[in-house]
Every structure is written in C-alpha cells, then in structure tokens.
Amino acid sequence: SQQGEEDPQALSIQEGENATMNCSYKTSINNLQWYRQNSGRGLVHLILIRSNEREKHSGRLRVTLDTSKKSSSLLITASRAADTASYFCAKEPSYGKLTFGQGTILTVHP
C-alpha cells in the first residue's frame, strides 16, 4: 500500500508542550502534505514538503522528510488548546491524487 501511516494514533499533551507526529510510506512520492481536520469539518492544508526537501517551517510547524527511510514528521511547537484536531499526512505519488493515512488525534489540554 502507498498510504501514509501515522503514529501515534492518539496523542494527549498539555498546552505549551511540543507535539510530534510521524508518518511512514512505502513507495516513491512527489511530495508529502500535512492536513488538519477538526471534528466533523473539512481538511485544512498545513504544509507541503517536496521529495527533494528535507525540512520546512511554517509558523509553529516544522516538517521533516527522510526519503531514505520513507518517513516524515510534523512538529507543533508550543501547542495550544486550539491545536486539538486530527492530523493527517497525505502523499502525492502522482499530481492530483492524495493518499491519506489514518491520522493522529491530538488533544491539547489547557
């Protein structure tokens, strides 16, 4: 399967702590994207990292990509209660077709 698999499946932290989520995949990709989904809502694009990039930052988000290990990580620094959501990695083996993982449910306690 080409689908990204996240771990942990669930993560519970205190506000102010950092949250790290990991994603693994099995085949080659053009890029890997991270999305967030609040309960019952749509998917919000967070960040995209291309296969020739190793690290990318956007605000409190830091994404790394290790193509040799076929893995990526999403780090949210100084988490807030409003960061509580499900986070998905999505691989784009061919443009326009995202393959999503199962997601990590992040709960940030105030």
């Binding site: 809502r41 749509g42 998917l43 694009h45 999505a90 326009g96 077709k97 999503f100």
Partner: protein
C-alpha cells in the same frame, strides 16, 4: 480567504435513489477533486477533473458515479443508485495548479451522505 463550498452539509437518502452532491470550487482554480471518508476510515481519493474531463479515478469510482461541471462554477458528484456502503463524508477539493505549487489543495467542509 477563498473557500470551497459544498451543499448540502448533510443528505439522507433511501437506498437505490440518485443523489447529487454539489461543490463550488475556488473561482480561479482549474483542478477539481472528490474524496470520501467512511466513518472511522481513511480519506480516499475518488476522482480528479481537469479541462472538463476526468484526469484520474480510483477503483471506488465505478459506473454508478459521475462528475460534471455543468456551468463553469459548480462541480457535482452524482451517485446513480445509492447503496448502504456509500454512506460517508464526501469532500470536494480544488487546486490552481494540480500540485505544482506549495499550496496543496483546498477542501470543502464536506457533505455527510447517509443512505438508509
């Protein structure tokens, strides 16, 4: 900020009935997609659409499904004869460049389809 709009937010239909899910993509986007998420499962790609034709479709997108851009602003997904297993959240997404930029895809809030 521009949004992808989906209607209705929730639709209940009887098995065997036809449903049309509607989406208004972002106005200057050229690539359009449908995904679905069965409760508790992964988000799955259904179909991509560009230049008034299907670019790619998944195994799920069989003959009971069709897509259309009827008037230059709406993008619809039709399910001809719904089955119980079609119950899911259906997401529309659009993109300006189909993945060639850093902006990813813009998803709508989804239509929850319940087949009874």
């Amino acid at each position: 900020e521009p949004e992808v709009t989906q209607t209705p937010s929730h639709q209940v239909t009887q098995m065997g009935q036809e449903v049309i899910l509607r989406c208004v993509p972002i106005s200057n986007h050229l690539y359009f997609y449908w995904y679905r998420q069965i409760l508790g499962q992964k988000v799955e790609f259904l179909v991509s659409f560009y230049n008034n034709e299907i670019s790619e479709k998944s195994e799920i997108f069989d003959d009971q499904f069709s897509v259309e851009r009827p008037d230059g602003s709406n993008f619809t997904l039709k399910i001809r004869s719904t089955k119980l297993e079609d119950s899911a959240m259906y997401f529309c997404a659009s993109s300006m460049t189909g993945g060639y930029t850093n902006y990813g895809y813009t998803f709508g809030s989804g239509t929850r389809l319940t087949v009874v």
